[in-house]
Amino acid sequence: MTVNVLKEQPLVQIKQLKQYYNEGTRKEVKALDDVTFDIYAGETFGLVGESGSGKSTIGRAIVNLYTPTDGDIIFDGKSWSQRQSRKSKLSFNKEVQMIFQDPYASLNPRMKVNDIIAEGLDVHQLVRNPKERTERVYELLEAVGLNRDHATRYPYEFSGGQRQRIGVARALAVEPKFIVCDEPISALDVSIQSQIINLLEELQAERGLTYLFIAHDLSMVKHFSDRIGMMYQGKIVEIADSDTLYSEPQHPYTKSLLSSIPLPDPDYEKERQRITFKPDGNFFNPSNQLVEVEPNHWVYQ
């Protein structure tokens, strides 16, 4: 998938972001340690790493759920500290939305689908009367491949894939520019995963959305993203466009992760050699940083 990416216009800039928990105590955790990257308007930026690598922390930090320990998250030209008033938080929430991993936990079981989807419309006063509200909900349901009858039902009446579609409709309701997709398909069955991925691709083409796609399934991230950032222990170890990262990985961790992915091809599987990665003293060297080894290909070294 190629999108015309305007390289000179980052929509989101993450600058030396640090997110520490239990700072200064024995239990200090560096969830994010000096993370820097840009997300350009109209692109899909994939973020990959194992559990605990900090990929979800980045997603949550971007949607303003945390106070950064240090560093900055610049969205649309405005730095984090400029966006903390009540008013600008509200307008920020209209621009940035999130789709969650677990479609069972992320929908309020006591609310009907139309109220779930329209909550954003009400908060941001995007509709003037109930009729307009209903119309908008119908439009959104149809946009995500559900139908009008679904508006008056409760979440428990839907399958996992359908619930994830409701989650997508809710995110789209306020017409955001940017959507953080935090493992949106990992709780779904294989045959449903591709439906949701195709839906997200269609919506991006129609509406010019920008995505941050967080996942641990590297094959799917490679298919869906324009560029990929590889995370390990709170650091980004490699950034490249998705084809390059896949065909010419540079960092030993990326190589190791790529060599661990099983593919649906028994003959390839028989040949596959797994490369193991053990972080040595070199990895933790404090003078390490992301270095541009070739244009747009950054490696932590």
């Binding site: 559990s51 069955d189 799917m220 298919h223 661990s260 099983p262 593919l263 091809d265 003959d267 390839y268």
Partner: protein, 349 residues
């Protein structure tokens, strides 16, 4: 092929629920041969777990086994009393569960969880059992087993916990090991390690394994034979080469093409719709409503198994001699070409 280790015939199981009768398994039949790994793949609700739980005798109270038999050593396991089942479980057929966080007892140290099995199932004395437990932990790749044997589950990482679960399963020295999604809760790299461990154990102990998963990548790595399940039925079964390079059922095609491969350009194939409601299974073929290649008969009558090659069977009317010929998806054609090459080279008999 080797000797038969276990044989499931016509197994039909339903659950009595408040909403009515749920047809969980519909005439499931397969053979398991000694020393092989049979993978059962399918989506959630397709009946993979119910199948192995029937074998283990772990079905809940509201379950009704309507028909069928599970033959193990010339006995029907379904006729066994609870006491007889108890004897089989662990010592002849053992099981590994998906989530290592919940399948270990958090209040007992890992040593006593392994020793319990050794004392009960293999009548070992305490000292002998402790030594064997250390050996098992070592075999399963836990470093410093002598020290760690007194530690509790929370002191281990997710991957290590799954290794401990495997050690417990091996403690009874079973002939058949059932692994129910053993790597689904783990990261890719840990997953690779656990799979390597299971393969090593199989080689050393000549174990027969049933491996349940929904990940076709993992199956390609571990399996000798594959059974594909859909809506409580096996729709296709064959060797790993047959299923990956010569698949016949449109559902298998859908599964194989809906996974992204590194060289994929353009849109990902998606199987339309959702699996059927097993409270009211549709008439005819349960997959017909999602099947682009469905024939008129699919909506009326369920297809029987057709033999594609020896030991490769698929339940689709497309294999009937009178069925119209259809255009196989491009990605599947590539797989067919690979299959023909393998036959020419003599890699497949």
């Amino acid at each position: 092929m080797n000797e038969l280790a276990l044989s499931v015939k016509d197994l039909t199981v339903s659950f009595q629920t408040f909403a009515g009768k749920l047809h969980a398994l519909r005439q499931v039949s397969f053979d398991l041969y000694q020393g092989e790994t049979l993978a059962i793949v399918g989506e959630s609700g397709s009946g993979k777990s119910v199948t192995v739980r029937s074998i283990m005798g772990l079905l809940s109270k509201n379950t009704l086994v309507e028909k069928g038999e599970i033959r193990f050593k010339n006995q029907n396991l379904l006729d066994y009393t609870d006491k007889q089942k108890e004897k089989i479980r662990g010592s002849q057929i053992a099981m590994i569960f998906q989530d290592p966080m919940t399948s270990l007892n958090p209040t007992l140290n890992i040593g006593s969880q392994i020793i319990e099995v050794l004392e009960k199932k293999r009548a070992m004395k305490r000292q002998e059992a402790v030594e064997e437990a250390i050996n098992l932990l070592d075999l399963c790749g836990i470093p410093n087993p002598e020290e760690r044997i007194t530690q509790y589950p929370h002191q281990f990482s997710g991957g290590q916990r799954q290794r401990i679960v495997i050690a417990i399963a091996l403690a009874g020295d079973p002939e058949i090991l059932i692994a129910d999604e053993p790597t689904t809760a783990l990261d890719v790299m840990i997953q690779a390690q656990i799979i390597e461990l299971l393969k090593k154990i199989q080689e050393e102990k000549q174990m027969t394994i049933i491996f349940i998963t929904h990940d076709l990548g993992v199956v390609a790595n571990v399996a000798d034979r594959v059974a594909v399940m859909y809506a409580g039925k096996i729709v296709e079964i064959g060797s790993v080469d047959d299923i990956y390079y010569h698949p016949q059922h449109p559902y298998t095609w859908g599964l194989l093409t809906s996974m992204p491969t590194p060289d994929l350009e353009g849109k990902l194939y998606a199987i339309p719709g959702t699996p059927p409601d097993l409270l009211n299974p549709p008439e005819g073929d349960a997959f017909a409503f999602r099947n682009e290649y469905a024939l008129a008969i699919d909506f009326v009558q369920e297809p029987p198994f057709f033999e594609v090659r020896p030991n490769h069977y698929a339940a689709t009317w497309l294999l009937h001699p009178k069925a119209p010929s259809i255009e196989v998806p491009e990605k599947i054609k590539e797989r067919y070409n690979h299959f023909e090459e393998k036959i020419k080279r003599g890699d497949i008999q």
